[in-house]
Amino acid sequence: MGNLGFNLLIFPGFLFVATLGFLWMGIERKLTARFQWRMGPPLWQPYIDFLKLMIKETLIPANAQRFMFITPPLLAFAGVLISSLILFRTSLFPKTSFLGDVVVFLYFLLFPSLALILGGSASGNPLAAMGVSREIKLMLSYELPLILAVFVPVWKTGSVKFAQIMSMQLQKGAFALHYPSCFIAFIVALLSIQAKLAFPPYDIPEGETEIMGGPLIEYSGSLLGMFYLTRGILHFLLPSFLVFLFWGGFPFNRWQWILSFLKALVVFLIMVVIKNINPRIRIDQAVRFFWSRVFVLGIIAMGLAIAGW
């Protein structure tokens, strides 16, 4: 089973996901630069940025609520750490999967957004408040389609355990390639995690050019570094989550395991392409898009799944 402390801090936990997350982030920055016909920063730029943020001074604004300002970055980090542990421990030791871990995973995945909302509103900055209100609206719009999409593989397996979903796919082949309903659900989930990562066209809460980083505007130094780290881990965690549910999971034998990482990279590359060919949209457009298009797609996928496709 492995040692839980080791698992948490080093192997499928902190060190592993942080390293890969920042690598994914570096790939994203490099590719974005190439899309714009630039050279781009070196691949290891996010590691340097993170270290630099950790050695900077941390300022707490005078009119912020101290406690509520300091805890959210830690909360966000704890949330992604636990969810990555759930996901990758299942991949290494399928027996540790417990009933309902998909639900718990989704629950912990909410933490980064909640932390942004809490921290932003505690910072006492009007622009942060604006970013927070946008973040809440965005969350309300992507969260339901994501749950609908997750429902489809759960229905196909008849169990809310990651291990079962994975072993089912090992027997029958990847869901997204075999069932139309799962393929539609995959697209729905892809759009939702695009919004969850706040990639363009959904980088509305953080709009650098109009509200200067939104909820993050007052954060500096190591607190900002924690948010940066959380974001880096999410870069890797969310695509792997999709691979887990729809594209064969992460079975732990050598080649298939490495192949799974490549699959996660492919999912991520699709997101980077979407990011680079779309401008930022307004928040009302985003809400309308998710509720009238993506939500309907999700319902269709669910209907197809129940009908047995």
Binding site: R38, E208, E218
Partner: protein, 138 residues
């Protein structure tokens, strides 16, 4: 001096502050981010909030209205902080020299680490200036 500067050197986040320029310097600064010059190669990027920044990039004569703002923004910046004055304006006033609203050169108000003269300085000159600043950091 050690590893801190080494890290800082490779990831400078820049906050751009205009204190009454003619706007030409600002345009030259934006040129740095275009494909031709692309300073993101060195890990330099523009940030929207001064709390995230390591470098304060000031353009323009510091006019009277701007003085309290410049001071406040300088104080809001987290600790290892660098200030760059771009253009002839923050040094001597350039064509606005002797104007009724000029509050004096920038270094009378906040400490400046690097001056990049020119009206406006070429993007190449700005890059050369930043390279000198990085030398100084070592």
């Amino acid at each position: 001096m050690g590893w801190r500067e080494k890290i800082l050197k490779r990831s400078l986040w820049v906050y751009h502050l205009a204190t009454g320029p003619c706007n030409n310097c600002d345009i030259e600064i934006l040129d740095l981010l275009t494909p031709r010059h692309d300073v993101e190669r060195f890990g330099i990027k523009l940030v929207g909030s001064v709390r995230h920044a390591d470098v304060l990039l000031v353009t323009g004569i510091v006019n009277r209205k701007c003085v309290p703002r410049v001071l406040r923004i300088y104080e809001q910046m987290p600790a290892p902080k660098l200030v760059i004055a771009v253009g002839a304006c923050p040094m001597g006033g350039c064509v606005f020299k002797g104007s009724y609203n000029q509050a004096g050169p920038l270094d009378k108000i906040i400490p400046v680490d690097l001056y990049i003269p020119g009206c406006p300085p070429k993007p190449e000159a700005i890059i050369a200036g930043i390279a000198k600043l990085l030398e100084k950091l070592k």
